[in-house]
């Protein structure tokens, strides 16, 4: 396997007040290599989104270790997590989660501005270039409300790549789109993965899309029940 970008060792996640905790993940071990394009599949309630939040450092595990780019994230405080998340992880959410107050260009610039503390012209240039790569050169200054669902998700993909991350986590990125747009957005994700060499983990319910990935990991009741390479991907 290629160099590991993300490694999960015995990751456990409990929810609840401590008296009667509900275990959502039961000791998950997983390693994602550089440039891999992996599908995470499983029924609703199997813990996919929880696992994704842990991988993206939006949440902390109850037990186990998460190593991101070789760094043990359990030792980092909140500020450290925010920093490494901002610089290493890109997110694409199901509901695109763009900021409606900002243009497409500004939305892509947000992670860069948050990292550097202030906007600068090179950020606009970089964001414009990324939006060009996802086919939105003509829509740089439009607000999310002025874009179609597929276009909004393209902006979200550009934003996820803005900080030149090591890994992009996509939670049902096409779940809210019609089949045609879903195909286009998925193709774009795949294409960006190949072009940038960034590791992609895509959560999906759609077996047709999972079938287009390099590797398929299946999660059932908080446990990985299958992890196989996909030759068709």
């Amino acid at each position: 396997m290629a160099e590991a970008v993300l490694r999960l060792e015995g990751v456990v996640k409990d929810y609840g007040d401590g008296q009667v905790p509900t275990r959502v993940l039961h000791g998950v071990d997983l390693e994602l290599g550089k440039g891999e394009f992996t599908a995470l599949v499983g029924p609703s309630g199997s813990g996919k989104s929880t696992l994704l939040n842990l991988m993206g450092l939006l949440d902390r595990p109850t037990a186990g270790r998460i190593l991101l780019a070789g760094q043990d994230t359990g030792r980092l405080d909140d500020a450290g997590l925010t920093r490494i998340r901002g610089r290493t992880v890109g997110f694409v959410f199901q509901f695109h989660h763009l900021l409606p107050e900002f243009s497409a260009l500004e939305n892509v610039m947000i992670p860069m501005m948050a990292d550097k503390g202030r906007p600068d012209p090179s950020m606009a240039e970089c964001a414009g270039h990324l939006l060009g790569q996802v086919g939105l050169s003509a829509h740089l200054h439009k607000r999310p409300g002025q874009l179609s669902g597929g276009q909004q998700q393209r902006v979200a993909i550009a934003r996820a790549l803005a900080m030149n991350p090591r890994i992009v986590l996509a939670d049902e990125p096409t779940g809210n789109l019609d089949t045609h747009s879903a195909d286009e957005v998925f193709a774009l994700l795949r294409n960006m993965g190949v072009r940038t060499g960034v590791t992609f983990l895509v959560v999906t319910h759609d077996p047709r899309l999972a079938d287009r990935c390099d590797r398929i990991v299946e999660l059932v009741d908080g446990r990985i029940v299958s992890d196989r390479p996909n030759v068709k991907g």
Binding site: N53, G56, L58, R83, H97, L99, A114, R118, P119, R159
Partner: protein, 405 residues
């Protein structure tokens, strides 16, 4: 432009309705503070001004002589009946030196010698009891602004000239250029030519004061070059009592201040100020609650955006600063707009409420300090009111927000 400011400005711009509401609340609050303070301050200034138009801020006099009873020899008892001798010698000793020293005292704007005593003013068969006030015209006007109140004639007192109030002129049927006889109880008398009639705004003073030259008063009152008092004007009228006491202690003279002789007025002004502070406190509280509640609602409405910002690398501290900046901006803009509105209200009120002569009944006292204080209060209120919503925003869990869509 820092990232926090960039986002805060955009949130404010895009939430137009909310921003307008919160700004209107702050503006009205600041305007009320400015307007009320200016109005109450103006009324107080006018009251003080009117009260002090005919009296000096500080007076120094020769202390009263108190007879002492010698202690009886040991073993004997003494029953003493003390009768006060009439005060003959009333003059302030070494008054030129004392006057010079008073004039050099910090906080004293002007000081003037005064030779005053009772007399009768008569013309033909009509006579009135008056108070002769022997003055140096220039320094007296610096202490009590009287030259500007001369309604007829001129403010000139030389040799056998005198200035009288309009009420006394009416009572004695005198006009400028007429002659008036002044006589003291001791039998000294002289004739004076009326050079001007003043109206100082106090009926009693207009009826009783006869201003003559210092030398004429000294002759009439048999003071042989002496004076009965030194009168002074101070820069800060509320410092008058402190300065009077300090001057009294330094010169050994008896001292008095307008604050002691107008205690009731002072008490009234103090309670007026206290009620003004109460009103301001409640207005500030209302503004703070307004800002806090609108920002609070805004945080709840924006929780999704806050979650996205945090998921895309924005730190907890940055999120907090975004909302604090929003509160601060509202405070600053509200202060400027409220200051302008308060000033406008004050001027309109001043112009619209007038007496039949067109003079304003409600003078206002607008000072740069008032705007500065109101602005600082509103900005600090905006920041303080934004604190809780900002904390709430900063503590939002991005995973929860994103999970809930």
């Amino acid at each position: 432009m820092p990232f926090e400011l960039f986002v805060a400005l955009r949130f404010l711009r895009e939430g137009r309705g909310q921003t307008a509401l919160i700004l209107a609340g702050t503006t009205v609050g600041v305007a009320v503070i400015v307007f009320l303070t200016a109005l109450i301050g103006g009324l107080q200034d006018t009251l003080i001004d009117q009260t002090l138009s005919s009296q000096p801020h500080v007076v120094l006099m020769r202390p009263e002589r108190v007879p002492r009873v010698l202690p009886p020899p040991p073993g004997t008892a003494l029953a003493a009946l003390v009768e006060r001798a009439p005060e003959r010698e009333r003059s302030v000793e070494q008054w030129q030196q004392v006057l010079a020293s008073v004039r050099e005292t910090p906080g004293v704007l002007a000081a003037t010698p005064m030779a005053s005593g009772a007399a009768f003013a008569s013309r033909a068969e009509v006579s009135r009891s008056v108070s002769i006030r022997g003055v140096e015209p220039e320094s007296f006007d610096a202490v009590i602004r009287i030259a500007g109140t001369v309604r007829e004639g001129r403010y000139r007192i030389e040799g056998g000239e005198c200035l009288i109030g309009t009420e006394l002129a009416t009572a004695l049927g005198l006009a400028v250029g007429d002659r008036l006889r002044l006589a003291t109880a001791e039998g000294r008398a002289d004739l004076f030519t009326v050079t001007g009639l003043f109206d100082i705004g106090s009926k009693e003073v207009n009826e009783r004061w006869v201003l003559v030259s210092l030398r004429s008063a000294q002759t009439l009152l048999d003071l042989s070059g002496g004076i009965t008092a030194i009168e002074a004007k101070v820069r800060d009228v509320f410092e008058a009592e402190r300065i009077a006491q300090a001057l009294g202690a330094r010169t050994g003279l008896a001292s008095d201040s307008w604050m002691r002789s107008n205690k009731r007025l002072l008490d009234g002004l103090r309670s007026q100020s206290a009620s003004s502070y109460m009103i301001q406190t409640f207005v500030i509280l209302a503004v703070a609650l307004g800002i806090a509640s609108v920002l609070g609602v805004s945080v709840i409405q924006k929780s999704r955006e806050i979650g996205i910002l945090k998921a895309t690398g924005t730190s907890t501290g940055t999120v907090m600063r975004i909302f604090l900046i929003e509160g601060g901006i509202v405070g600053v803009v509200g202060s400027v707009a409220g200051g302008a509105l308060g000033a406008l209200l004050s001027f309109v009120f001043q112009l619209s409420v007038t007496n039949p002569y067109g003079e304003s009944l409600f003078p206002i006292a607008l000072s740069p300090r008032l705007f500065l204080v109101a602005g600082l209060v509103a900005t600090a209120t905006g920041l303080a009111a934004a604190w809780l919503p900002a904390r709430r925003a900063a503590l939002l869990d991005p995973a929860v927000v994103i999970r809930n869509g």
